[in-house]
């Protein structure tokens, strides 16, 4: 009889306690307050009087095993062997005494890991896989992020923004990537070019038709074989047809551009959560350092920093000064494409005489 294959142990999500700093275990659910003694450092005090000091450092997210081992060495030698990662790929080292903080910071800086990302800073950019590993990307992700974080490094290591600034990138228009104070996303500008020879072999045509948000795709016979056709007048160039049907080539070295969105907010603090809004588009997808996108991002951040009041998140600042002033102060053009026309959009228009002069 053939050897039985090993079946998986369906253990699911592991128990966190076995990997948790002992002070976290001992004071679980019993914390009293915290403060940030300096950017990149958190001090949490428990009801028991225990204290834990956290040092937060930026990473490249896409990490080689040598970098991870280096971080482990630092954790063992300068911290207490316990780390955790944040949602934005920052690493946190926890120590039980204040006097361990500075040597840990010094070592991390010596090894090239910036200290920051806490409080009212620009934290690390959450991002997708891009050309490195995705099957549908219009751009790279890690490279865009490396370039932008080089430019925004000074705001990562300080806490002097009006409020937190969270940035995300996405290398397609519709799938991954997140809502954020500033989002840099691919925006295609031409309909897909169809490789008709491959459609019938690779694509389940009804599901491609149903995937289209604009109902612009129809089954068709092309050159005697079943394929698909796109009504280019209806097509909104979103690329939704590409993942289920790779012959619907949406990515284009020239016409896949970048767009920048502003004012997404997940937190409930003060105002309700909100979705980000389009502010700039037509930006060239220009590796290896995407300078045109970086210039616009830096302008938006600088304007926000100078003009917003303390604790105003990006969207709250724009709400207060009005979108007209946002475009005026940032120097970005306002076009007819900024007016939403997808679905029921009348509520996005100004139904008042509230106008700033």
């Amino acid at each position: 009889m053939a050897e039985q294959p090993r079946m998986p142990i369906e253990s699911g999500t592991p128990d966190a306690f076995q990997y948790m700093h002992p002070l976290f275990q001992r004071n679980y659910g019993q914390w009293a307050w915290h403060e940030r003694p300096r950017p990149g450092v958190l001090r949490h005090v428990a009801k028991s009087g225990d204290e834990v000091w956290t040092v937060r450092a930026g990473t490249q997210r896409q990490m080689d095993v040598y970098t991870i081992r280096k971080l482990c060495d630092i954790a063992d030698e300068y911290a207490e062997g316990f780390v955790r990662f944040t949602i934005r790929s920052n690493i946190e080292f926890m120590v039980s005494a204040q006097d361990k903080v500075q040597p840990l910071i010094d070592k991390l800086l010596e090894e090239g890991f910036p200290i920051g990302g806490t409080g009212n800073s620009v934290s690390m950019i959450s991002h997708t896989q891009g050309w490195l590993h995705c099957d549908i990307p219009g751009s790279d992700a890690s490279g865009v992020v490396k370039s932008l974080m080089d430019e925004l490094h000074a705001e990562f290591i300080r806490e002097d923004m009006p409020n937190k600034v969270k940035i995300s990138t996405s290398c397609c228009q519709i799938n991954c990537g997140g809502q954020a104070d500033i989002a840099i996303n691919i925006q295609h500008t031409k309909p897909p070019k169809i490789n008709h020879d491959l459609v019938s072999n690779l694509c389940e045509r009804p599901s491609v038709v149903s995937r289209c948000p604009a109902a612009a795709i129809r089954p068709a016979m092309v050159n005697g074989s079943p394929s698909l056709e796109v009504d280019e007048k209806k097509c909104i160039c979103c690329g939704a047809c590409f993942p289920p049907c790779p012959p619907m080539q949406i990515n284009d070295p020239e016409h896949s551009k970048l767009a920048i969105w502003v004012g997404g907010k997940n937190s409930n603090a003060r105002s309700k959560p909100s979705l980000h809004k389009l502010v700039a588009a037509g930006i060239p997808n220009n590796p290896p350092r995407w300078p045109e996108a970086a210039t616009i991002i830096k302008t938006i951040i600088k304007t926000y920093k100078e003009d917003a009041r303390e604790w105003e998140r990006m969207n709250e600042w724009v709400e207060r000064i009005g979108w007209k002033n946002f475009f005026k102060k940032t120097g970005l053009p306002f076009t007819r494409f900024h007016i939403d026309d997808w679905g029921r959009t009348r509520h996005t228009l100004n139904t008042s005489t509230h106008i700033r002069f």
Binding site: P5, D64, Y66, C72, I87, S89, Q173, R270, S271
Partner: protein, 410 residues
């Protein structure tokens, strides 16, 4: 080993600057791993031509239907060593805690079977082991599995969950996010490993309204901590804060920033709170961490339907349960039961490739509530209907239900 590296003039430009460089890391891997030599070659080719060259396919491990993201190179003739470059998604512990010991073990296994490239973490919270051949998938997974780790979700399935640091370190945490995360994910582990749902389904767990997990924007079921008694005020600490910052600062940055105007600074530098009008937004607590904290009667608000663009546009989650107590094991079981009911209803009623939020948009929240046996509540809406296009034949019945509930509650 020892394959000559490709020239990478574009990628080389990403090695300078103050931020840690992933390219430097990839090159270090390429010193000892030919797969990474060709991976760098393909990435440079993408940078030059501004196009991606990976295609999907099928790859898996025995016993599971998902969790492996297969990648085959379309330019394998130029870069043969990275022709197969699959990703394994591995679920970390809630809030991504690690010992240095377990991370070293990850590195050792991954160095043996794969490229040595790990993303910490993917957008849905997985450890992404990127760059494995088809042949090595199974032995690599087996070793991670023996170490106590399991495959994450992919495809039309329950996906890997995410939770904030929560009770482990945060005083704002209103319920045990790690417990809810682990209990719910492991209750639906079959739906995670064997993709058979209409589309993806994401759970995210945030301990308070700051929603550090972006759950309202990024999850089909967002569990966000809150409290329903009074905010806790330490007036002595309020006085100290006012003494340190001044009355004007406190008025401008705490009192006036309250979205429902329920704060006022008394003449004696203590704080008055109109708790009945507080919406638990967290702002004042964020600013005055020592003086203010969430109340004692804690639990969560459940929101459903958050997602990104495809197909009908970006959706924020909306309130399904305004308050759910989360203290006892029975409370957590009730949360699990609610999630199960939601997934079952969605699995039966959604169209193919339709997320939870899109289905609710199509059928209406009222029908969804009826399907789940949940009662309607004014906390579910920003405002009531603003148009008369509705049949109200059953108005009296619905009013009677409301009145009965109100009577039962008093």
């Amino acid at each position: 080993m020892g394959k000559k590296k490709h020239d990478t003039p574009l990628l080389d430009q990403l090695e300078s600057g103050p931020w840690p460089s992933f390219i430097t890391g990839l090159k270090r891997l390429a010193d000892d791993n030919d797969m990474m030599v060709d991976l760098l070659g393909q990435l440079e080719h993408s940078y030059k031509t501004r196009k991606g060259y990976w295609k999907g396919g099928t790859a898996s491990v025995i016993g599971y239907g998902g969790g492996v993201i297969p990648r085959f190179s379309e330019v394998a003739d130029m870069f043969p060593e990275s022709a197969e470059f699959h990703t394994l998604r591995i679920m970390p512990a809630p809030a991504m805690h690690y010992t240095s010991d377990i991370l070293r073990k990850f590195c050792d296994i991954w160095e043996k079977y794969g490229s040595g490239l790990i993303a910490l973490h993917g957008q849905t919270g997985d450890v992404m082991l990127q760059g494995c051949t088809t042949e090595n998938m199974q032995p690599c997974f087996d070793e991670f599995n023996e170490l106590g780790f399991d495959m994450g979700g992919a495809g039309p399935s329950v996906r890997t969950g995410m939770s904030c640091v929560g009770h482990a370190r945060c005083e704002h945490s209103c319920y045990d996010t790690a417990r809810a995360h682990r209990q719910l994910l492991n209750a639906f582990i079959d739906d995670l490993h064997r993709p058979a749902l209409p589309y993806k389904f994401k759970f995210k767990f945030s301990g308070c309204g700051n929603d550090c997990m972006n759950s309202v924007q990024r999850s089909d079921m967002a569990v966000i901590g809150t409290w329903r008694d009074d905010i806790e005020v330490n007036q002595e600490e309020v006085r100290k804060f006012v003494a340190a910052k001044g009355r004007q600062y406190v008025n401008e940055n705490v009192v006036m920033r309250c979205p429902t105007q329920c704060l006022s600074l008394n003449e004696d530098d203590t704080l008055a709170v109109d708790n009945a009008n507080c919406v638990r937004c967290m702002h004042c607590i964020n600013v005055m961490t020592k003086a203010l904290s969430p109340g004692k009667e804690r639990g969560a608000t459940i929101l459903v339907g958050g997602k990104r663009t495809l197909k009908i546009g970006d959706l924020l989650g909306t309130v399904l349960v305004p308050f759910m107590k989360l203290e006892t094991p029975e409370d957590y079981d009730a949360l699990q039961e609610l999630a199960g009911n939601m997934i079952d209803f969605w699995a039966e009623n959604a169209l193919e490739h339709e997320r939870m939020g899109e289905m609710i948009e199509r059928i209406g929240l009222g029908n969804f509530l009826e399907g789940l046996g949940l009662e309607v509540d004014p906390d579910m809406v920003a405002h009531p209907r603003a148009n008369p296009y509705v049949r109200l034949d059953a108005w009296e019945e619905e009013v009677a239900k409301w009145n009965a509930r109100q009577a039962a509650a008093t």
